[in-house]
């Protein structure tokens, strides 16, 4: 483009960085950059009017402490060298190319908004949902508002045995009184109040020693009031012998799982289980091959599971088909086998096989001035602290490039000045951080009225209306 950057603007030659996505990856990258150099200015763009990504839309409502990171993100957003622009869809309202021309560097941190498909017949029947959508629904993600999951069945099957699978199981079976005090959405609360789900199976391809969930979440299921565990003792053959060689974290997790599944409980626990009205359990060595419809073909009525055996052991153990199958009646199937990143701009390199932006320590391949952090960089696994480290690494790469001259900051860049003009011309109204704070206050006030930390606004229209945009 033939404009002379020096002819106007340069308010300074301070490095201007644009970050796409305002979840943990975006905010931790921003935090690290702002702290490292006194002259860096960071603008964070977010598609929704509200920030924080999966901290708002992914973390379970009954895990409010995990959301404490929002306090740190808020401090970053309110820093003089940081600006937040919500309601801006990068790829549609403004291209990555335009951002690259406006800023010295662009960091893509927009995470994983898609999900891995199971890839079996019947996956699109009513009653079958991805965990991403189900979690988005009970957490008030605007795009999941219309999900209206059908909870009028007795048995639910969850595919996948990670922490998201356990979150879903826990929300399906939690006593309503506990959920009422969380920031779960009102429509979800009402649907769960009517729910007839009494049994939840958490199905995995491999065995007890390969579960991807962690012990805190397992313990929450074990201690969930009103529920009792029901598992297959035979699934634990060979496990006691293997325990002694396991590293402590895996050992404690497996011990708890085995104890819950196999051990005869003491009197108090026996009594508690007798009074339980809801059942949950892991089912191992099972892979879905088909989801069946009911006679009227209007919804799911069951799932066929192929029986596996393991080859190898530990993390690397592989599930191998035995040829046997098992059919399970159920009216709800929730696939929790992984989120997936999507490409948002054709000019950005994208590895469709791994569903990430190809990079080395956050530097996007064959794209000078372009970086990535968070799940878009490494794939959709790990908790907030993992993403934090990942984001710090990307920030370090960017700073190294500034120091080495690889990233040229000698010419001033217009940054948000130009982007704001483009957006205005295109009829896009960005939401500022103080706008978000108005939404935040309103949500908390509404929540207070019904004993909840907040009552989330559920549509983008509502959010913009509050702000008169």
């Amino acid at each position: 483009i033939g404009w002379s950057g020096k002819a106007f603007l340069s308010t300074s030659c301070c490095p201007k960085v644009c970050i796409v996505g305002s979840g943990p990856a975006g905010f931790y990258t921003a935090q690290h950059l702002i702290k490292a150099r006194q002259d860096v200015e960071v603008d964070i763009y977010e598609r929704l009017p509200v920030p924080f990504g999966l901290v708002r839309f992914g973390v379970a409502p009954d895990h409010p402490e995990v959301k404490n990171v929002i306090n740190t993100f808020t401090q970053t957003a309110k820093h003089s060298r940081c600006s937040f622009y919500g309601n801006v869809n990068v790829g549609k309202d403004v291209t990555v190319g335009e951002l690259q021309q406006a800023y010295h560097a662009v960091v893509l941190s927009y995470g994983a908004e898609g999900n891995r498909r199971v890839g079996v017949p019947g996956e699109d029947l009513r009653g079958v949902y991805s965990a991403k959508d189900f979690v988005g629904w009970y957490n008030g993600m605007p795009s999941c508002r219309e999900l209206s999951p059908d909870l009028s069945c007795e048995t639910a099957v969850i595919l996948g045995q990670g922490n998201v699978a356990l979150d879903v199981a826990r929300i399906l079976l939690s006593p309503l009184d506990a959920l009422k005090k969380t920031d779960i959405t009102q429509p979800a609360l009402e649907a769960l109040a009517e729910s007839q789900v009494r049994k939840v199976l958490i199905v995995g391809r491999r065995g007890p020693m390969q579960v991807a969930c962690t012990i805190k979440e397992l313990r929450e299921m074990v201690n969930l009031p009103g529920t009792r565990p029901e598992m297959v003792a035979a699934d634990f053959e060979g496990v006691p012998e293997a325990l002694k060689d396991l590293p402590r974290p895996r050992k404690r997790l497996t011990e708890l799982l085995m104890k819950t599944a196999v051990e005869v409980p003491g009197d108090k626990e026996l009594e508690r289980r007798k009074n339980a009205t809801k059942i949950w359990g892991f089912r191992f060595y099972r892979s879905p091959t088909e989801i069946f419809a009911d006679p009227s073909h209007s919804r799911t009525a069951g799932i066929r599971l192929a029986v596996n055996r393991l080859e190898g052991s530990g993390e690397r153990a592989q599930a191998v088909l035995t040829g046997e199958v098992e059919d399970v009646s159920c009216g709800l199937v929730i696939s929790s086998i992984g989120y997936k990143s999507l490409p948002i701009d054709p000019s950005v390199p994208f590895d469709s096989r791994r569903a990430i932006v190809p990079n080395s320590v956050g530097r996007v391949h064959q794209a000078a001035g372009l970086y990535c952090s968070g799940w878009l960089k490494t794939g959709p696994t790990g908790v907030i602290a993992t993403t934090m480290n990942n984001s710090f690494d990307t920030a370090r790469s960017l700073l190294e490039d500034v120091d080495s001259g690889t990233l040229d900051i000698s010419t001033g860049k217009p940054g948000s000045q130009i982007v704001s003009m483009l957006l205005e011309e295109r009829g896009v109204k960005p939401v500022t951080f103080s706008d978000w704070e108005k939404i935040d206050s309103l949500e908390m006030r509404k929540g207070e009225a019904c004993g909840k930390p907040r009552e989330k606004l559920l549509t983008v229209e509502e959010m913009l209306k509050i702000l008169h945009l």
């Binding site: 991807a212 997790l253 989120y339 908790v383 480290n389 000045q417």
Partner: protein, 165 residues
């Protein structure tokens, strides 16, 4: 609007119309603003203080004086010790980023670990036999002169190598 047109238009806009945020927030405020972790006011007499030595990730020793009753996370925050990413969940046992390593003798003095702490500690990067979470260790005079090492990284191990969720 094409980018070129926008650029030319912008050149005509007076810089005075370009608003800047006026709030300057010091970096210290990042950690200490709006948080009160310390349990009540302690008189600042030196005989009521506990000396704590931290070894940071660069191997440097940092010595501070803290009040009995403070947790080690409180100390890190109150003294503005700049350990990257330390204490992300603000002491609520929802992460493992306040992971600290002690020598055997000191570890034994710290007493038993609850299941709750152990569950989160199990996820800490670089876990050792003498690891603890700083937010769960409350200072007493008997811990005078303790040395706490901040281990290499704060990554939770809840990311699998094969990329599955």
């Amino acid at each position: 609007m094409a980018l070129v047109t926008a650029m030319r238009r912008l050149a005509q806009v007076s810089l005075r119309e370009f608003s800047r945020r006026s709030t300057a927030v010091s970096w210290g405020a990042f950690h200490t603003a709006e948080r009160s972790f310390t349990t009540g006011a302690q008189p600042l007499r030196s005989d009521n203080k506990v000396t704590v030595h931290f070894i940071n990730r660069d191997g440097e020793k940092i010595t501070v004086k803290a009040s009995p009753g403070d947790s080690l996370l409180d100390v890190v925050i109150n003294e503005d010790l700049d350990f990257d990413g330390f204490g992300a969940c603000e002491g609520t046992l929802a992460c493992s980023t306040c992971h600290l390593v002690f020598n055997e003798e000191m570890y034994k003095k710290l007493g038993p670990v609850t299941d709750e702490e152990m569950d989160m500690l199990d996820l800490a990067y670089g876990l050792t036999e003498t690891s603890r979470l700083g937010c769960q260790i409350c200072l007493t005079k008997s811990l005078e002169g303790m040395v706490a090492r901040v281990p290499e990284s704060v990554a939770d191990i809840r990311q699998t190598k094969d990329g599955s969720a």
